[in-house]
Symmetry: C2
Subunit: 472 residues, 2 copies
């Protein structure tokens, strides 16, 4: 075996772990045991996993160990333990989508993301807790318990990919795939001090994912560093149009532009923001200046009005899906109150309002396109607030009147679901109470490679990503 502590093993970067595996200084078995020990220790307390695949993971670890020994190593994920949000279909493995309705569903085929993980040689530890049917941003699940924040367990992890974020933050695996329809990868990443990427719409297959709003659903990685996120993204095997740059984790550092233009949408993303969040994000913007960014203000004039109109699109698509499956309204009683309410609301949306939403969406895309003519990246907070307490439905931001926590948590992430352009959340500090804050980097369509390079430059200049929550 090896001399490293379980905690050291659990928090290696994927690159480090892969190097040690190749040199046979450690075995996949060590990594899986370290992760399983942490799951054993804290998964129930924090409601992280809905299904743990301990035996399966141990078996896969042995297999990977033997493959690597025989010189048949695959890429950097070979032998690396990971998790999947429970809305990714996994063949022969229960897939609940965080719902009671699918509590007994055993899919007979893998989602594309599960296939990609298997092909890369990653080892699936289990399926993570999530907001019911991914239809919420808090991660509070009435059937399986709230996904709790490892930095403050009385607070939410954010959702809907809350379990995935908590698993990665606490060393229960090296990465996870989540889904993001309105912010469900980026918000829990921000609230748990992680790197979360919503890629360009259409890049990564969503086949085999229980849909929320099919025109807005994105599959993407949650990781502890920019490089780890890039390695996970590469495993997903997205198809880039000819001429667009495919991310390569080995080239991220070299791909960093020496000088670049960063846009700050002051009006929309810096008003009505928690004072500490704002300070930390403004500090990050300054840090970018010292890293070669020319910072300028950008305006997205039709965004605020447009997002309001386009919200109809997502809720209508969700209701249409649940009706088409015979779940809603037929089995309305089996939903949690919040999701049932959203489905009822979505059912009543008029087609004319849906169509108005489509027009608004086109205007949002045009606004972002115009901004990306001028700047390489847009910088903003990921969430206007740090993680609120579990169960707190209203929030007061910067001394203003109370508003709905849910709407606030989504406010800065949803625009990128409507634009279809990539957006990344990275850690940028902690409040005085020790709660993580996320910085959001938005880029133009197919711009993942450059976005990750710019994020890596910041990460290398800071220490935030090296802190891990203390879980007892």
């Amino acid at each position: 075996m090896n001399s490293r502590s379980e905690s050291e093993l659990a928090f290696l970067s994927i690159e480090q772990a892969a190097r040690l595996l190749r040199r046979r200084e450690i075995s996949p078995v060590d990594l899986v045991e370290a992760a399983l020990a942490r799951i054993e220790q804290a998964s129930s307390k924090l409601n992280v996993f809905l299904t743990v695949l301990a035996d399966w993971a141990r078996g896969q670890a042995k297999k990977a160990e033997s493959e690597i020994r025989r010189g048949r190593a695959r890429g950097p994920l070979h032998g690396i333990p990971v998790s999947l949000k429970d809305n990714f279909a996994t063949r022969g493995i229960r897939t609940t989508a965080g719902s009671k309705i699918l509590a007994g569903w055993i899919p007979d085929a893998d989602s594309d993301a599960a296939k990609s993980l298997a092909q890369a040689g990653a080892i699936l530890l289990g399926k993570t807790n999530m907001h019911e049917f991914a239809y919420g941003i808090t991660g509070e699940n009435p059937h399986y318990g709230p996904s709790r924040n490892p930095w403050a367990p009385d607070r939410i992890s954010g959702g809907s990919s809350g379990g995935s974020a908590v698993a990665v933050a606490t060393g229960m695996g090296f990465g996870s795939f989540g889904t993001d329809t309105g912010g469900s990868i980026r918000v829990p990443s921000a609230l748990c001090s992680l790197v979360g990427l919503k890629p360009t719409f259409g890049l990564v297959s969503t086949a085999g994912v229980v849909p929320l709003g099919a025109s807005f659903d994105h599959v993407g990685p949650i990781a502890r560093s920019v490089t780890d996120a890039c390695i996970l993204l590469e495993a997903l095997d997205g198809k880039y149009p000819r001429g667009e740059k495919r991310p390569d984790y080995r080239k991220l550092r070299a791909g960093r532009p020496r000088r670049f233009r960063a846009g700050v949408p002051k009006q929309l993303y810096f008003d009505r923001v928690d004072h500490e969040v704002r300070e930390l994000v403004e500090g990050a913007v300054k840090r970018f200046e010292s890293l070669g960014a020319r910072v300028e203000e950008v305006s997205l004039p039709r965004l605020e009005h447009g997002v309001e109109q386009a919200t109809n699109l997502i809720v209508a698509e969700a209701s249409a899906y649940h009706e088409s499956q015979g779940y809603f309204p037929a089995r309305a009683a089996e939903y949690g109150d919040d999701v049932r309410g959203h489905l009822e609301y979505g059912h009543k949306v008029l087609a004319v309002d849906y169509l108005r939403g489509l027009s608004a969406r086109r205007e949002i895309v045009e606004d972002f396109e115009a901004a990306f003519e001028r700047v390489d990246v847009i910088l903003a907070p990921t969430s206007p607030i740090p993680a609120p307490p579990v169960g707190e439905s209203q929030v007061r931001i910067a001394g203003q009147r109370e508003t709905a926590t849910r709407a606030e948590l989504l406010r800065f992430t949803r625009p990128s679901n409507l634009s279809g352009m990539p957006a990344l959340s990275i850690p940028c500090g902690f409040t005085r109470a020790g709660l993580p804050v996320g910085l959001q980097l938005m880029g133009p369509r197919w711009g993942e490679a450059r976005l990750l390079s710019i994020a890596l430059a910041y990460e290398e200049a800071t220490e935030w990503h090296k802190r891990h929550p203390h879980v007892t």
Copy 2:
């Protein structure tokens, strides 16, 4: 001048007229005067034109005459008088869309189709009557009078491009552009013994057309022969994807496949059809066999159910447009009863039903794609009935129970608006009462060139297109 009678001049083919113009045996002035004489004689009786541009057309004819004399001839439409449906914006020329609401609208820019006509050197005679806002298939207009069928003036011309069809049928110009959202080019072409083409969705720009349902609106030609239709289509300057064959009227004959496969969807398109229509269409299918077609039955299993579901798409898009312009419900009283009723209905469609319609539409596309794996062309009636009397809202087909005339007239054309694939109506005979019957040819996406070649083979083997209505 020339020795040809006004009637001879008015019914030349575009190719013949162009040849005579080039040889200076006739002048554009002769053609315009012949057309204006016929407009003078019968436009009011049949409610053909909403705006006649006599002075403008005479001026343009002089100009074209002088250009041709100076050897500056353009293509085959140079100096040819034509008309435009009144939903194409024309700069400085009233554009009503057949409505009271736009009765005073003078656009300050041309639609793309109007620009194309001008570039080709065609001479605009005027703007033709239509179903109000193109929202109906009968051509009965409460504000400007019903567009009457020149073969039987107590009967409808069909719509919504009724005036365009009647103008072309009666020699008031050589061709016209119409729009087709559910059959509005093909149905009046069938009912008036003309060639009408709905091209592939996306081929021809609809910029500057007052929309009905933007996902289903198509611009296309109405003409007296297949070659004329092809010449008019070419003028529209559609963009084909790389590798797809662009129609060329000089190559239509050569492009005709020696042997080809023709599909007949018996179940859907030959049930509940007027006996005489059915006989004539079946006769046409036999004629195709003698021309080298291998005829087989094709099935489109999800079409019937799908069309019903997808109808929601068009009505919702129409209501959304009229609301976005502040016409409806604000000015509801200014609409005719039928259009107001459709707009009210469309306003109530739920987004979930719209989304179900989108799924149904995808299935319709798949069904047609599967059929076009097996056959080159699908043959069917354009309309299950010949032109019904003006004002007759119910119809009894083949002795079955009464159904809505409007729904029946649309039944065979709407599927191609949903599939987005090209469809053509050509004359295939007359009932014993002397009413024209249309044969519909449907082809795969971007298949206009082959569709027109196949249609030309039939046209050359028949005489139907040589008959013209006697207008007194």
